[in-house]
């Protein structure tokens, strides 16, 4: 069983995703989705040798909504910044953030969050994963920004992935 389905959760979600995208429970779609769920983890196995351990679903759910809220807020901030860029140019700069999170999957999730939220772009990770370089669209207070970034995103991710 373990060899047939190396990532049962991934297989199941791919199957559900396929059925949802097609909005149908017909036999053909059930089989196609199951095939996708069965083959994808096997085909991707050479790409990601580290199995992810995900715990604390409550923390993950809270993080999901926090990110949603931050995306909304920073969307408005970036839109506003663009609209009055002629009047007051945004204070764009690179920021170095010291990292405590070292898990590869956690860092991947952090990169995703950081890039999805407008106004911040993940630019570089030090080889030893101790420092992150990111570009910020409009930086007000560097210390406060780093504190917000670490407490809102990094700490929950450390709980989820470690």
């Amino acid at each position: 069983m373990k060899r047939l389905f190396p990532a049962p959760l991934l297989s199941l979600s791919l199957w559900a995703l396929w059925l949802l995208l097609n909005l149908s429970l017909s036999a053909g779609n059930l089989i196609l989705g199951a095939l996708l769920g069965f083959l994808a983890p096997i085909m991707f196995a050479p790409l990601r040798p580290l199995p992810a351990r995900i715990g604390r679903p409550g923390v993950a759910l809270k993080l999901f909504f926090l990110v949603g809220r931050d995306v909304l807020i920073s969307n408005l901030a970036v839109a506003w910044g663009v609209l009055r860029a002629g009047h007051r140019p945004p204070r764009s700069t690179f920021v170095k953030v010291p990292l405590d999170l070292h898990d590869a999957h956690g860092l991947a999730a952090l990169a995703m969050i950081c890039t999805v939220v407008p106004g911040t772009v993940w630019s570089e990770l030090a080889l030893d994963r101790s420092v992150l370089l990111m570009h910020v669209f409009d930086l007000d207070d560097e210390a406060r920004f780093i504190e917000h970034f670490k407490s809102t995103y990094e700490r929950p991710l450390m709980e989820i992935f470690q």
Binding site: L20, V82, P89, P90, A111, G119, S123, A126, L127, L133
Partner: protein
Amino acid sequence: MNSLHVLPFWVEVLTAVLLVSSSLFALIGALGLLRMKDFFQRMHSPALASTIGAWCVALASIVYFSVLKEGPVLHAWLIPILLAITVPVTTLLLARTGLFRKRMAGDGDVPPEVSEGRHEGK
């Protein structure tokens, strides 16, 4: 009678507001692409279209079709979720390439490598 005409007024207003705000955000994103001065600043504004722009369209579709079909039609949320997974891949590639090229060109605007002195046995 067309099925469009039996929808309650508030649904039509809500859908219209969501669609118009989505396109407004996409427009501001494009404007940012045009007006920003350097490469890294320009990386931020397209995110408006891929986040709140896509969210508003998905929400509009959910509201409209849920009322039309008289039951929750939620699968449009998959679009923002898939976008959130795939967009960072290209954004990250662009950011890395931009940094690499600017460093190669000796451009003083970008900070040096953060790995400096942190590898090769140190």
